[in-house]
Subunit: 191 residues, 4 copies
DNA sequence: AATGAATGAGTTTTCATTCAT
DNA sequence: GATGAATGAAAACTCATTCAT
């Protein structure tokens, strides 16, 4: 019998390598060979487990989204008040675990990929819908009917900060981003 | 007999074709042949005038940025109050002339290109700096030292709305975006 | 505890799977994986038993030829007259047991493989020589020196009918083929 | 202006090279690079003019069929009697211009390709139908209702002789093949 | 000025084959 | 005996770029 159960290990390694490679290159124009090399396997194996380059990209995008969702979920689980729920969502969005240069670079590339790829578009829609819904749900008790507007605005602000931090020459700083969104929200809630 | 003065005409046609092609494809992964065909010339001529594909992309990016800057400049020229200056900047950002699906698609692609291409990064920095500086300059008389923070926040919101509208399944709606930013600003100014 | 005597079983299963796969695909461009899957084993095992893909193909070709030869031999064993011997050869060539779509498809592919592969060519020569010799031997008492010519002609007719039936959109029909060859022979013998 | 009108020249050269390469290799498992090299161009150009390897193969098959049809047509044009028509068809089938080792090898490979490729199958059907129809048409005045049977038989014999000559170690000999078919026909007509 | 011809490097993908267990 | 893991060579195909005319 051969080494068994390598598949999940390899898949995980290849997904990590994909994100790292996109992050390092800043583009999706990377080769399967680069990814495979980074993961320490042959390019053939990458195809064996994923079928093709696009499937690998989509798997990486899904992974990034899942990690983000997990982070938010964990935060929401312990939040007791609407205000705390809001903060959990925002903190999750910029949590240190996902707010690394590589991950941000991948996010931004995946965003734009959604313009040309059906699967990426569907995945992005899920993310966008969930973020909006989470925000609105937390805002409703606080601002009533204005929740929809404010939720959309906040979602845009979050993505805009992602963009800015991703493109800024400085190292990404999640805490600053969190403060910016929360201070914006606090002002809106007070008003 | 060579037609004289074709250069600016060809260059403009090729730049327009580039933006249209990126917009249609949703990606920078378009071929020089596609661009040339859309512009009604041969691919050889495209190289003749631009040197290479990258130069064409950069020229298109520069064009998009220039159009945007022109729009803002025109608005600022007639603005009499700080509040009017703010509105001019925001209106310029979502002016109908530049807020078409093709242009938005190109913008987003150029944003992300700035992650991997030096020239694109430099161009993006110029845009980012100018937007920030315009906003802060207009905000200073209104909120004093808070102008920097609020400017950065507003810039992020603007880019975030670009992203959202670009990725939304609905047709882009500049007026809604303008209203969202202005209502945000008004709230912040009142507070 | 290793199962004993698996080798002949596995080999037979793999050979059958090879023929079925070639028949289904209509080409030798099938993968070892497909064959192995059809045989219900791993691709590694296929190599273990056969050494390589080419060896598997040759084993399949040999198998098909042997089955054909067996069929003819059985017919000849009970044939009492030269005419009966002739009919036995022809019947054997289109015997229901070998004249299935899969087998015909494999035959045709093996024929053409003989153009590029030494081993396949040698195998084909054996088949061709035996068919010719069988036919001539049976014809000699009937047509004397014309046996050689008529034998060659008949052999060509048999192979041509194989080709036609293999490529015809209708289901292969051995009886018709037998009748065609026999009526041809009868006419030649009468004349 | 560049060298104009190269397309038909290149296409012809590539088709010839394809047939020569298949003939030399005895298989369709040849690379586009081999074909291109033989034609004296780059592999990129081959793709440029044909779209892909399959299209090249089909173009070559079509070419071979056309040359054959032309040969038969020329013969039929001057044939005055049914017997002469028959001979024209047979002579055309084994005309020196098409009965070279390369062409025969290509024919046989294309025959078998018809088992797995839709386009090849359609092309082959055209050829088969035409040969049959030509033969039956010429036979009808001579043998009446038996024309269909005899036509099918003769077609099979012709293809069978192709196969035999293609696979024979000796150099192809059209004259012998012609004599074999004609003597067969003469016998059948007499009877 | 402008074109279409032509190249060739680079990428994805497939698959026979090997091997540790 | 048997497997699934893993490799890497080979091939199709794309496309930016160059060039003769």
């Amino acid at each position: 019998m051969p080494k068994l159960g390598m598949e999940p290990i390899r898949r995980a390694a290849l997904i990590d390598a994909t994100i790292a490679e996109i992050g390092a290159a800043g583009t999706l124009d990377i080769t399967v060979g680069q990814i495979a090399r980074r993961a320490g396997v042959s390019s053939g194996l990458a195809h064996h487990y994923f079928g093709g380059k696009d499937d690998m990209l989509m798997a990486a995008m899904r992974h990034v989204m899942r990690e983000y969702a997990r982070e938010v979920r964990l935060g929401l689980a312990v939040a007791q008040t609407p205000r705390a729920r809001l903060e959990a969502i925002v903190r999750g969005s910029f949590a240190a675990s996902n707010f690394t240069p590589d991950t941000i670079g991948s996010w931004l590339n995946f965003y734009v990929l959604a313009l040309s790829s059906g699967p990426a578009r569907r995945l992005h829609r899920i993310y966008a819908k969930r973020l909006r819904s989470n925000l609105c749900h937390a805002l409703r008790p606080l601002v009533g009917t204005r929740a929809d507007n404010l939720g959309a605005q906040t979602a845009a602000l979050i993505d805009g900060l992602y963009l800015h931090q991703g493109l800024s020459p400085t190292v990404p700083d999640g805490d600053t981003a969190i403060r910016q969104v929360m201070s914006h929200l606090d002002r809106e809630l007070k008003g």
